[in-house]
């Protein structure tokens, strides 16, 4: 196979070398003709806002943008499920010529009457950017008529990449923040930002915080509600997961309401524990101390110990089989990649390739700092590159999303879906166990012995099957 690295992308692919100053190009537009794994601004906005379950999410544009984002993600709601419907203005030729404002207004009126949502978000797609509909004005009119917030999301696909979409989503949410009553919010209170409640993950995290005695005011956006967003400025702290998605909202809330934020990741043992301890530390002095009652630090310590006492023996059994195996990671946000590197270490494995769609220079620097010598670090990759890296590093498992899956499978390599479509919870201590289980099951599957590329090269005669270690683990 001929070399597959596009000349124009050479500086977006780097190898970690000890002692070298690490630099990489990133945050560029995708290269034409390179089959990028990235989507668009609209995609970024949709990802962030979509889990707000009691709002109408109306995609203003031709049908495709809405059709392809209909209920494809696993964000669960404990109540309303409006977010799982796909609303579109379904623009037609006539609308493109004469403008889509009338149709947008009619669609909003119809959908609001029909579903009685607590708010409506209107996503502008590429075409709307071109034909120049005044979405703002329409939203304003409908909001006044219907008495609910109707919020434009400026997410024209071509106006940048996914990151720009995150920002647009945060701006849209900021229009809700501050509009609600904050009375009754206790001093030990946080908002959970940047988690989407895939497979019910936010419920796991929320339970941890509540066990520590911390009240969760709003979950943004997983299992999200308009009213929670409206009053979330009453919380004492924002805990922001993931490097990209909701960071802008946290910053805006800090500027406007003085609410500090901390970053967190809920993947893996260290990062999960850290996310809890950081919050505990923040509230240490505000925690009402009563004689004989353990303080928040002690409560948190007890929680982590309890969870680990259950988890660690289970991992140990699987680790025996996985020791020395290698992984490749290509995910949307770089922050998740940090956690994954650590997760694999816990399983006795190393990460030989790591990349993201939307990492920043600092993100990649940090990645370089925590990875092993020789690790390939890549920004905005494509199938040709990814397949080359997988082969070159001869990895045993690839972590990514649906678009990456066939690349791994074609190369006879295991795969773990760590993206928005996952149906297994991977966050928290419980999630770490699920993750280990999935990695173990796929890596230890006998099917790789039969794929042409790897025939005979792996696990031959090791005798370990997925079941044996898992039985020991459970």
């Amino acid at each position: 196979m001929k070399p597959v690295i596009f000349e124009q992308r050479k500086d977006q692919i780097k190898r970690k070398r000890e002692g070298d100053e690490f630099t990489i190009a990133c945050n560029r537009d995708s290269l034409a003709g390179a089959v990028s794994q990235r989507a668009c601004v609209f995609c970024g906005s949709r990802v962030v806002l979509y889990p707000i379950a009691d709002a109408v999410h109306l995609v203003h544009g031709p049908i495709g943008c809405a059709a392809y984002t209909w209920d494809i993600r696993g964000a669960l709601s404990s109540g309303p499920e409006l977010h799982r419907l796909s609303f579109s203005t379904d623009l037609r030729e006539k609308d493109v010529i004469f403008g889509g404002e009338k149709k947008l207004e009619a669609a909003l009126n119809e959908l609001i009457d029909r579903h009685r949502p607590n708010a409506a978000f209107v996503y502008s797609t590429c075409i709307v950017g071109i034909i120049g509909d005044d979405v703002q004005a329409v939203c304003k009119r409908v909001a006044a008529a219907k008495g609910i917030p109707v919020i434009p999301v400026q997410s024209e696909g071509f106006k940048g990449n996914k990151r720009a979409g995150y920002e647009a989503a945060c701006k849209a949410m900021m229009q809700l923040v501050g509009s609600g009553d904050t009375s009754g919010i206790p001093p030990l209170s946080i908002n959970i930002l940047g988690d989407f409640n895939l497979a019910g993950e936010i419920w796991i995290i929320k339970e941890y915080y509540e066990r520590m005695g911390v009240n969760v005011v709003a979950t943004i956006t997983g299992d999200g509600r308009v009213a929670d967003l409206a009053r979330c400025h009453g919380a004492a702290l924002n805990v922001v997961q993931c490097s990209g998605a909701t960071m802008d909202l946290a910053k805006m809330m800090k500027d406007k309401y003085g609410i500090p934020f901390i970053r967190a990741s809920y993947f893996g043992i260290e990062d999960m524990s850290k996310a809890l301890y950081d919050v505990a530390r923040f509230f240490k002095d505000k925690d009402p101390v009563a004689p004989g009652v353990p303080g928040i630090m002690e409560r948190t310590g007890a929680l982590v110990r309890e969870e680990l006492a259950e988890l660690l023996p289970k991992l140990a059994a699987m680790k025996k089989d996985l020791a020395g195996k290698k992984a490749a990671v290509y995910v949307g946000g770089a922050f998740k990649a940090f956690s994954l590197v650590k997760c694999f270490r816990h399983l006795g494995m190393s990460v030989a390739v790591v990349g993201s769609q939307t990492g920043t220079e600092e993100d990649y620097k940090e990645l370089a700092a925590i990875t092993d010598e020789g690790t390939i670090i890549v920004d905005d990759a494509n199938p040709l590159e990814l397949s080359q890296f997988i082969k070159e590093m001869d990895v045993d498992i690839f972590v990514g999303g649906v678009k990456e899956r066939p690349i791994a499978y074609k190369l006879g390599v295991g795969f773990c879906d760590h993206n928005h479509e996952r149906k297994e919870a991977l966050e928290g201590f419980k999630g770490m166990y699920n993750f280990a289980l999935e990695v173990h099951r796929t890596v230890m599957s006998p099917v790789w012995r039969f794929t042409p590329r790897r025939r005979g090269s792996i696990a031959a005669g090791s005798g370990a099957t997925a079941n044996a270690a898992e039985e020991a683990a459970s």
Partner: protein, 465 residues
């Protein structure tokens, strides 16, 4: 009861929807997706969407979860600057990259809503590209205009085929080739068609043929462009072929590839329905007999015989049952033809497409059996289909995965998955719909779904039905 758009219709007549205001859960996808899939069926061809990055990525994701295969769709990845000043430079750069890195021998360029609206002249840009890089070994570049605000994936698929034939076919050499324009069917369908033509000793050129590219074997290495697909040489030869068989009763020969071959090169066109169900299959096999001059080979005669036998064996389970059918228009027509002959009454035939030809086609295929044709609704979404289904309370739902939550689950009715996309079952690319064999599988599946439902609903726990 939520309002249903469009007034009640006289049977057999399509309901013209009211001036549309909003779509909830579309029963359609967009035009370039169909075009990209058609291009995937050409040997060495990389589909290329001229537009911003998002469209291509979304479509890839969507197609991958159906086929579970790598689906590389390139994009010109237009940004703000290009959207304002024109996408020409990005298109050319993209073509060059695909050509060099993928080693594509063909590239199928489809426009998106964006590039249609900004008015990029792709035909001219491709010409310029060919001139600028004339010293390099250039791939075949075909292009098609596919603004989604003007149609669905089915129309994009057909438009791409027509464009391919228009831009490549010649009648320089006469051949024994039979052109087969098989419509948007599964990989297994295409494989089955190949066998059929072989059994009749016919030299078939099936377009498009993604049966290997989108359902490929495990290979030694990752291949940039999976092997398989209709060779360009065979597309070229289409103008000199002895006949064309084109499936799709909703297809308008004036806009189809088969129509173009007939008009421009006088290749006789056999325009048929998708061969699903006994009568549509008989019509198809009749044409095969006619073209080949051979009688129905024994194995197909037997398959036909078994099918009729199964119809008889299963009729009591199905008699009097009703079904809601939705999806791409041509498939909906085929399913109505089939259902009506097994005693299942299609009570609603619905599609997000709006060809204006659905009602007529459904009437035509059901007329000799059903007392009155089913209600037909064009240009509808799942919100409307579900609303109507609630009123009709059918026994079965037949269509793609997208109806599961709003129809199958909510109404607790068995959903028989056919067509595209099938995202919630395994083996979508291996669903066989066509021929006596495909009909047999669908029939068994339908009978079993009815039995299973009966079993599940009964307190007795029959182990023998």
């Amino acid at each position: 009861m939520p309002p249903v758009k469009g007034a009640a219709n006289t049977p057999g007549e399509a309901v013209k929807p009211d001036p549309f205001v909003s779509t909830t859960n579309a029963c359609k996808m967009c035009k370039p997706l169909g075009a990209a899939l058609a291009f995937m069926g050409i040997e060495g061809c990389v589909p290329f969407l001229h537009g911003s990055q998002g469209c291509a990525t979304y479509m890839r994701r969507y197609v991958i979860s159906h086929f579970r295969e790598p689906v590389d769709i390139a994009s010109s990845a237009l940004g703000e600057k290009q959207a304002i000043h024109g996408g020409g430079p990005n298109l050319k750069l993209g073509l060059l990259n695909v050509m060099k890195k993928y080693g594509a021998t063909a590239i199928g360029v489809a426009t998106t809503c964006l590039t249609e609206t900004i008015g990029d002249d792709v035909s001219m840009l491709v010409k310029e590209f060919k001139k600028e890089f004339g010293d390099l070994p250039l791939p075949e570049i075909v292009h098609v205009s596919t603004p989604s605000y003007g149609g669905t994936q089915a129309e994009g698929f057909q438009a791409a085929l027509r464009a391919v034939v228009d831009q490549l076919a010649t009648d320089e050499a006469k051949s024994t080739q039979v052109n087969v324009l098989s419509n948007f069917v599964s990989c297994e369908d295409i494989r089955h068609l190949k066998d059929l033509f072989e059994d009749f000793g016919l030299n078939a050129a099936i377009l498009p043929d993604y049966s290997e590219r989108l359902d490929g074997p495990a290979l030694e290495d990752y291949v940039k462009i999976a092997p398989g697909g209709t060779p360009v040489a065979r597309i070229r030869a289409m103008g000199g072929a002895r006949a064309t068989i084109e499936f799709g009763r909703v297809l308008d020969p004036e806009k189809s590839a088969g129509g173009l071959l007939a008009e421009r090169f006088s290749v006789p066109l056999h325009s048929l329905g998708l061969p699903v169900g006994l009568r549509e299959c008989d019509a198809f096999f009749g044409v095969l007999e006619e073209i080949s001059g051979r009688p129905l080979p024994r194995r197909h005669e037997l398959a036909r015989g078994r099918l009729v036998d199964a119809y008889v064996d299963g009729h009591k389970y199905l008699s009097g049952k009703t079904a809601v059918v939705y999806g791409e228009e041509d498939l909906v027509v085929a399913m109505c033809a089939f259902l009506s002959e097994i005693g299942v009454k299609p009570v609603l035939a619905a599609s997000g497409g709006q060809s204006g030809r659905l009602a007529g086609a459904v009437s035509a295929v059901t007329a000799d059996i059903l007392r009155e044709p089913p209600e037909v609704r064009e240009g509808v979404d799942f919100y409307e289909i579900a609303a109507r289904a609630r009123e009709l309370s059918p026994d079965l739902v037949i269509g793609n995965s997208k109806g599961y939550r709003v129809l199958g689950r909510e109404l607790d009715i068995p959903l028989i998955r056919v067509g595209f996309p099938i995202h919630d079952r395994f083996g979508a690319q291996r669903v066989l719909h066509l021929g006596y064999a495909g009909t047999q599988r669908l029939f068994d599946q339908i009978v079993n779904a009815v039995i299973e439902k009966k079993q599940a609903d009964s307190d007795v726990g029959y182990g023998y039905i």
